[in-house]
């Protein structure tokens, strides 16, 4: 019933657990291929490359002018009657929201899907204060009932089959078992409607916010984003500082790029644009509107040369094309953000470089993510840069560093290289018993390598020998 992947376990353990689950890769492949195909169809009908180019230009401009745009956005939110809070890190963001909840005697919070609040583990923090947090996106609600964490940026419950969900509803809500998704959905509607009507505070993330007008925009299909931003007395939007767009035109460009890239929809069902608390005489809407602007490593990412990844619009397109994601699932990445973009930003955001040092290697560098990205973020390049930073920095384990130093010593001396290659040729043939199969195990200390992968047999002759034979006496220039 539970995901069989322990997200607290080391990366290699998580991968083993993911690969050992026989249905996981099938489920993920089916779901991600569906999303990928929908995206292709929706982009076929328009000048997709022009949309990507315009998005890239707009996002680059936004980043270049981010400090000024943040100040403009803050000014406009305040002019609209809202309040802006700045948080340097996760702790500060949690503290701000916790204090807001205490000031308003909040006992229950309704939330719409938000990666930003997952990033800071907000629910955990609020629950420690005795505040109930209800996730209201259908997928997130299921995840919360199952006490798991989301496994996909836009489809959090992508790893669960319907019979597993039915079992969960039977256990937690005493609902008779059914394989009718509409029946499960109707039951969730009834449960969650009561929560919306009785909650004291609504919390959402933010898909993008307009600097020129002080407007926070959230994109949903179910309408929970509307509920959360309409019914409770206090509405809090939590956003990373990179989520701004300069103008309303930019906002609608990003909106349409996002919907097509995420799910292949031309438009989602709802785009909710909030410019402040309810106005005088308005029938409904929150009495208070707060925005939490959160850095949590983003300004450092920019300064450290990873600014390109701050253009991400969280559509999930890179997950849907990633061969590694399909094998290890979102939980394999062990972080809020999974897939290729998660492999880049998780180590940078969390300051847990050491725990996440393996993530930049959770990629085959095939480049499908870069081709799928609606803002053309060069994810393979960023992963390589991260690997480089890891190796040159102090994060690399001693054994690996010594091995690399040894290799460098051998590779830079032709005679030593030839000798080693000859030894490896003989060695691998001996180990294979003069067969032609890949080696599953190498002797210590090289067994570390073969724990996760097979080792191919060396060719019977080296390239140099082959070349010498083929071209007579002339050897390759060295």
């Amino acid at each position: 019933m539970r995901s069989r992947i322990d997200i607290e376990a080391p990366f290699k353990t998580r991968v083993k657990q993911a690969v050992a689950n026989p249905t996981l890769a099938d489920t993920l492949t089916r779901a991600t291929l569906h999303l990928k195909e929908q995206k292709r169809l929706s982009l076929e009908e328009l000048e997709a490359q022009r949309l990507r180019d315009q998005m890239r230009q707009m996002k680059a401009h936004t980043l270049r002018n981010l400090p000024e745009l943040l100040e403009r956005f803050e000014h406009n939110v305040v002019m609209n009657g809202g309040r802006v809070h700045w948080a340097e890190d996760a702790d500060e963001a949690n503290r701000i929201i916790g204090e807001l909840a205490e000031q308003h005697d909040v006992r229950k919070v309704v939330k719409s899907k938000s990666m930003a609040t997952e990033e800071i583990h907000l629910n955990h923090h609020l629950e420690a204060k005795g505040i109930t947090c209800v996730e209201t996106d259908l997928g997130e609600y299921i995840i919360q009932l199952a006490e798991e964490i989301p496994s996909h940026i836009v489809a959090p419950v992508i790893h669960k089959r319907i019979d597993e969900i039915s079992d969960l509803f039977a256990e937690k809500l005493s609902m008779p078992r059914t394989l009718d998704p509409q029946a499960l959905c109707a039951r969730a509607r009834v449960e969650l409607r009561q929560e919306f009507l009785s909650a004291d505070m609504g919390i959402s993330g933010c898909n993008f916010a307009i600097a020129d007008t002080g407007t926070v925009c959230i994109v949903t299909n179910e309408g929970n984003g509307r509920m959360v931003s309409t019914l409770p007395r206090v509405y809090v939007a939590v956003m990373g500082i990179e989520k701004l767009v300069p103008t309303p035109q930019d906002a609608f460009l990003q909106y349409q790029s996002l919907t097509r890239s995420a799910t292949g929809q031309r438009v989602t069902v709802y785009l909710s644009m909030t410019s402040g608390p309810k106005r005088l005489e308005d029938v409904d809407g929150p009495e208070e509107f707060h925005v939490v602007l959160m850095d949590n490593g983003r300004s450092r990412m920019l300064a450290d040369g990873y600014g390109e990844s701050l253009m991400c619009i969280r559509c999930g397109a890179c997950l849907n094309v990633c061969p590694v994601y399909r094998q290890i699932s979102g939980h394999g990445y062990g972080n809020t953000y999974s897939g290729p973009i998660g492999a880049v930003i998780s180590p940078l955001l969390s300051e847990e470089m050491v725990r996440n040092k393996d993530l930049p290697y959770a990629s085959t560098l095939c480049g499908a993510c870069r081709d799928a990205c609606p803002v053309q973020i060069d994810l393979p390049k960023m992963l390589l840069n991260l690997r480089h930073d890891l190796v040159s920095g102090k994060h690399m384990p001693g054994a690996e560093r010594r091995a690399m130093q040894g290799f460098a010593g051998v590779a830079s001396r032709p005679a030593a290289y030839r000798g080693t290659a000859r030894a490896a040729r003989t060695g691998t043939r001996l180990l294979s018993g003069f067969g032609d199969r890949n080696l599953r195990r190498l002797p210590p200390p090289l067994h570390h390598w073969t724990r996760q992968r097979d080792f191919p047999l060396m060719a019977k002759q080296s390239f140099r020998e082959w070349w010498t034979k083929r071209s007579g006496t002339r050897g390759p220039a060295t």
Partner: protein, 254 residues
């Protein structure tokens, strides 16, 4: 004491603000920064591409709108007169109000300004039009919960995507398009445009775009009934918002 705590709180807040902005400015000042480029021009108004556009084969805005909304699991009637629009609207509402539930609709104020005589037509069929002034009272909320049909106008509608834009104002509740299981939207021809970009450009031209976005607390773009594909990528309708969305399109005389 309280004052001291408040001051400390303010100081902390502004410190975070200053530190974040300083770090960003310092980072951006580095000439070797790989991204963003030093020269990063904005998209100027009018430069933004029209993402969803009309096609040569579209018979007209109404037909395109209806076709798109149908693809989004909504439905519509295209009336050729105000009288026809009134008839379609009442018919749909009566179809939704079966005998078991209350004969009440949750509405925006002044329905007659959208379709003259609509309030009287509903009254004649014993349908009560409920226009709440506030949702603050829990009893009001519980009461409105029972209503199964919502009826609203639109700020503007976009044919290329089958979308309607709803604006919150003192007479125009968000709840009418959100709480009930069924929503009917009245779209006069004068408010139907090809796409959202057309609307943005119109406001840009007369310098009213900022006002159009922020002069109400909430703008919502709605495209079809509430839906989810969270369970095994299978479509489910009416997750939180309405399960049915019906549009009535009609011409406005002179």
């Amino acid at each position: 004491m309280d004052q001291a705590i408040r001051d400390a709180g303010t100081r902390n807040v502004s410190q975070a603000r200053q530190r974040i902005l300083d770090r960003l400015r310092q980072g951006l000042a580095d000439p070797k920064l790989p991204w963003p480029p030093a020269d990063a021009p904005p998209l100027t108004p009018g430069e933004h591409m029209h993402v969803a556009t009309l096609r040569a084969e579209d018979a007209g805005l109404e037909q395109r709108f209806a076709g798109e909304l149908e693809k989004l699991h909504g439905s519509s009637d295209i009336a050729d007169s105000i009288v026809g629009a009134r008839m379609f609207t009442v018919q749909k509402i009566l179809e939704w109000l079966d005998d078991s539930g209350p004969r009440r609709v949750l509405a925006w104020s002044e329905l007659n300004s959208w379709i003259p005589g609509l309030e009287e037509s509903l009254f004649d069929r014993h349908v009560e039009v409920v226009v709440p002034e506030s949702l603050d009272n829990p009893d009001t909320r519980a009461d409105l919960q029972e209503i199964r049909v919502g009826i609203t106008g639109v700020e503007v509608a976009f044919a290329a995507t089958g979308s309607i834009l709803l604006k919150s104002t003192p007479g125009q509740s968000r709840s009418a398009s959100l709480l009930p299981l069924n929503h009917i939207a009245l779209i006069p021809g004068t408010r139907l445009l090809p796409n959202v970009e057309t609307w943005l450009e119109q406001h840009q031209l007369d310098n009213s775009l900022g006002h159009a976005i922020r002069n109400s607390a909430n703008l919502t773009l709605v495209s079809g009934p509430s839906k989810s594909a969270d369970i095994e990528s299978k479509l489910t309708l009416g997750v939180h918002g309405p399960k049915e969305l019906h549009a009535v399109l009609y011409p406005v005389p002179g």
